[in-house]
């Protein structure tokens, strides 16, 4: 009789352990979820930014200015580059359309550009407040300071993806984004600083 009790006890223990593991979604940080919700509720539909690039193909520092917009009705994430030359990138599902200046639009699958895909999925999740989508791709580490500043570390879950993007570091203050740092696999850091909308609206 005691052996049967032991078996039942062992089964209960195993079962409890399995249940306690639960799906990844159960581990969602409620504070992070609340933060993303406030970001998504932001009345500003377009985020303007400035980014300085250096090295690589460039002879010196190149400053880019542009905009990010999430269009909920069409499910499109759009990025504009306004200076030094203009370009537009639109992501809808797995489809990316890139158009530079007045050139012919080029279409390609987002899945074929893993680095871009990860960056875009992170941006989309931030703009829509979709914490589940964010945690599908990234391991999220969220910190809040007393002065309402906060920091979100997003590390790609997929090892192959980390060869394209080591880390996304999102900085904010209260319910607004301050900057998004992209850290490449070689350690190069590029910062997209969120700026106020210029007085003259871009075309």
């Amino acid at each position: 009789m005691s052996r049967y009790l032991l078996v039942i006890l062992a089964w209960l223990l195993v079962g409890t352990t399995v249940l306690a593991d639960g799906p990844a979604g159960d581990d969602t940080d409620p504070v992070l979820a609340a933060r993303l919700a406030t970001l998504a509720d932001s009345p500003e539909p377009v985020q303007h930014y400035r980014e300085v690039r250096d090295g690589g193909l460039f002879s010196g520092a190149v400053t880019y200015t542009g905009r990010l917009e999430w269009r909920e009705a069409t499910g499109e994430l759009i990025q504009w580059i306004d200076t030094p030359t203009s370009a537009r990138l639109a992501v809808a599902g797995d489809r990316v359309e890139i158009q530079s200046g007045t050139g012919r639009p080029r279409t390609l699958p987002l899945s074929a550009r893993p680095g871009l895909a990860a960056m875009m999925s992170g941006l989309r999740a931030l703009l829509t407040g979709d914490v589940t989508a964010l945690e599908t791709v990234f391991t999220a580490d969220y910190l809040e300071a007393d002065n309402q500043e906060w920091l979100l570390h997003l590390k790609p879950r997929d090892a192959a993806l980390r060869e394209h993007l080591a880390l996304l570091e999102v900085r904010g203050e209260d319910d607004r984004l301050v900057a998004i740092d992209r850290v490449g696999p070689e350690g190069r850091r590029e910062t997209m600083t969120i700026v106020p909308a210029p007085d003259v609206e871009q075309p």
């Binding site: 193909l57 460039f58 030094p84 030359t85 797995d94 890139i98 993806l161 394209h164």
Partner: protein, 763 residues
């Protein structure tokens, strides 16, 4: 039969069996090339259909839908591409990394390029903006080598997903994978499916949560289903047959003795196919075994006539009729030798030789195995069958009435709208056992990725490969205009990979030297923030391009483009009698509007053929049916002459009338109950003709042993009916069609012959 003669008979039988086994084991190979079963094709479209034999555009694609909301893991494509079962992952982004050779190395010969400083400046301005979109080391490296994205220009035309959104309505990302094996190579398809599942598991995605679809998935699934279904139904049919035989004869020995002629006939028939063709198609065996089913009846006639109390001379009494029936059946089956396709000829040879073997084995080997006494056989030979006296004449009324009713029922189906298409189902797809829900899901995934049409292609043929590629280039120029005008959503051909040699040389001449290029680059980057050494790799690549020889199809051997080139450029025999021509195919998108195609083709250069695989297959089947029926008509006439020669005219006419009436009535009932008849109905009715002729010949005999004859024919009909009823209950269309045709045909044949045969006068 004396012991010596008995031993000699059995010895000869053993020798024949051993010889057949030796031939089968040393000479026979199995084939699964469907082309063997297709008749001589007429026209380029039918020839392409036969040459492709199921390997139609898009049929090699596996569509993989990941779970909704997931993003494709970055390593998935690499895992897939490294598996030999996967030819390539067609959606390859030319801007995500360096594209594969030789398209990459030859990019400045494969597409036009504006080498002016202004054009370079414009391109570099665009790259400057794009580099700001999202930092990507892979893209930066590509721009170093290819700042004008010339490789994208070359490879864009090869994309299969140009028209799709890459995502289902439920939000599942869809990935297209091209298998190395053609769709009918089910082992290769199974390996590709396993590779996809392994790759998904390797990237942390549970393969069971993904949807994998495509012709190969259907084929592999059906192979397993059909194998399981056919196996248990065959076993069930065999058990049912054994039960009927045991109930009829109450002797276990009958069960294995009845199988001896059938099995011997199959072995010898297979050996004949091995000697004549060197290979046997799987379909030959499947249908051949069905047609050989007539041979199971031969020993049953003998057993019924030698039951207790009536055993004397049993074989002698049944043999003349059995021989006549067997010869008629052999003639009918041999007609398939003229069927116009090697597979059909194999089927005819196998079944004709099998029946021709089974009959004498029944006559000589079974009595020898039973050890029949000399007295019996002597009596048999010495005792002529006694004619019955005072019986009524042949009953023509019932078969005539049945024939008239059947013809009246069939006339509207043949003369109605669409001609005889109301009677015959020539749509091979209608035989598809794939559940409609799976076909609908496959269609949704194909639309999501804009996969090529599985029905339409454009074809060009030419004796000279170089001239063909020049004509293809001219065709794509016109197609580009049609795309720009919105007449078609897009197309895909190998033209971007194989421009005419002359055009490649022209482009090569336009390439500037390294010095000139650097000067133009300096001018182009004058107002741009690029490093002066940023495009050294570009200059080196361009310089190397100026030394290349023009690219030809052979240069793609062993590259990721090989399967695409092989599928779209191949030699085809018989386009012009006695000559091999080169043929190239152009894919049209899956959402192309069929109604717009005739107008499109009218506007294309002369010599372009629209290949409609569905129409071509229907025309092929129609031609095959027409030819088969013509041949069988001639054979029927020969059999009629044979019967008139061997039996009295009234009995011959009555026997043929019974067979014709049974076939017509069975066809009419099948048509009105199950819809238009298909290929498997036709094979089933062919078997019914052989069985029905035997029933009529035996029941029409004017002999005294009518009770034994009726017992024999009833046992034959019940055993065949029960066995095929098991198949008729199958959910697989092929088995259902075959089973229902045979069951219905046997019941009608038996009923007509039984009811209208002459009845003995009561003593």
């Amino acid at each position: 039969m004396s012991p010596g003669r008995r031993q000699a008979t059995l010895g000869a039988w053993v020798l024949v069996v051993v010889a057949a086994l030796a031939v089968i084991t040393t000479r026979l190979e199995f084939s699964y090339d469907l082309g063997l079963f297709l008749p001589r094709a007429e026209g380029l479209d039918q020839r392409i259909l036969v040459a492709r034999a199921g390997d139609t555009p898009g049929a090699r694609y596996l569509l993989v839908a990941l779970p909704a909301g997931t993003i494709e893991p970055a390593g998935l494509r690499g895992r897939l591409a490294s598996d030999p079962a996967i030819a390539r992952v067609p959606v390859q982004d030319p801007t995500g990394g360096l594209p594969p050779d030789p398209a990459w190395r030859y990019r400045y010969l494969l597409a036009d390029m504006d080498w002016s400083a202004a054009a370079l400046g414009n391109a570099l301005g665009e790259r400057l903006a794009e580099l700001g979109l999202a930092a990507d080391p892979g893209f930066e490296n590509l721009v170093r080598h290819d700042p004008t994205l010339q490789s994208a220009r070359v490879l864009d035309a090869l994309q299969v997903d140009a028209g799709g959104h890459g995502r289902t309505a439920a939000g599942r990302p869809v990935l297209v994978v091209e298998t190395a094996a053609p769709p009918f190579d089910l082992d290769g398809q199974a390996a590709a499916i396993a590779a996809v599942r392994t790759a998904l598991s390797g990237e942390g995605i549970n393969p069971d949560t993904a949807l994998i679809s495509g012709a190969g998935v259907f084929g592999v699934g059906l192979r397993d289903t059909i194998h399981a279904e056919a196996t248990w139904r065959s076993v069930a049919a065999s058990l049912a047959l054994a039960l009927v035989l045991w109930l009829a004869y109450r002797r276990w020995a009958v069960l294995w003795l009845a199988a001896v002629p059938l099995v011997t006939g199959m072995g010898v028939g297979l050996a004949a196919v091995a000697l004549a063709f060197g290979q046997a198609h799987g379909i030959t065996l499947a249908f051949g075994f069905t047609l050989m089913g007539v041979a199971i009846d031969y020993p049953l006639h003998y057993f019924s006539h030698r039951r207790a109390g009536s055993s004397v001379g049993a074989m002698a009494r049944v043999w003349p009729t059995l021989r006549l029936g067997a010869i008629s059946t052999v003639l009918a089956y041999a007609a398939l030798l003229l069927g116009g396709a090697e597979g059909i000829a194999q089927l005819g040879l196998f079944s004709a030789v099998g029946v021709a073997t089974a009959a004498p084995v029944t006559r000589f080997v079974i009595p020898a195995m039973e050890g029949r006494s000399d007295t019996d056989e002597a009596s048999a030979t010495a005792t002529p069958a006694t004619r019955t006296r005072g019986r009524t004449g042949p009953g023509f009324g019932l078969p005539v009435a049945a024939l008239v009713v059947a013809v009246l029922a069939l006339v509207p189906t043949v003369t109605g709208p669409g001609g005889d298409q109301g009677f015959w189902n020539r749509d091979l797809a209608a035989l598809s056992p794939v559940p409609p829900a799976l076909l609908a899901r496959d269609s949704e995934l194909r639309q999501a990725v804009g996969a090529p049409s599985m029905r339409y292609q454009l074809a060009l043929a030419d004796a000279d490969q170089a001239r063909l590629l020049e004509r293809l280039h001219a065709l794509t120029t016109v197609l580009d205009e049609a795309v720009a005008a919105g007449e078609i959503p897009g197309y895909r051909s190998i033209a971007p990979l194989l421009p005419p040699s002359g055009l490649q040389l022209e482009r090569q001449k336009a390439i500037p030297g390294a010095g000139a290029l650097r000067v133009r680059l300096d001018a182009a980057t004058q107002d741009l923030p690029f490093d002066s050494a940023a495009f050294d790799a570009f200059v080196a690549d361009v310089t190397a391009s100026s030394r290349l020889s023009p690219l030809g199809p052979a240069d793609y051997t062993g590259t990721p483009f090989e399967s695409m080139i092989a599928a779209s450029l191949f030699r085809l025999r018989g386009v012009v009698p006695g000559d091999d021509w080169w043929v190239t195919l152009v894919d049209l998108p899956g959402d192309v509007n069929p109604e717009s195609l005739p107008a499109l083709v009218d506007g294309l250069p002369s010599g372009v053929t629209l290949v409609d695989y569905r129409a071509a297959s229907e025309a092929l089947v129609a031609g095959y049916q027409s030819r088969t029926w013509r041949v069988l008509g001639v054979v029927l006439a020969v059999i009629a002459v044979l019967l008139l020669w061997r039996v009295r005219p009234a009995r011959a006419a009555w026997s043929l009338l019974c067979v014709l009436a049974a076939l017509a009535l069975a066809a009419a009932v099948l048509r009105w109950v199950a819809g238009p008849l298909d290929l498997y109905h036709m094979i089933g009715l062919l078997l019914v003709a052989g069985l029905g002729l035997d029933y009529a010949l035996f029941l029409g005999r004017d002999e005294a042993d009518v009770t034994d004859t009726r017992h024999a024919v009833a046992t034959c009909a019940v055993s065949t009916g029960v066995a095929f009823a098991v198949l008729a209950a199958s959910a697989i269309p092929a088995l259902r069609s075959l089973g229902s045709a045979v069951v219905l045909g046997v019941v009608i044949s038996f009923a007509l012959a039984w009811l209208s045969s002459r009845r003995p006068v009561q003593p």
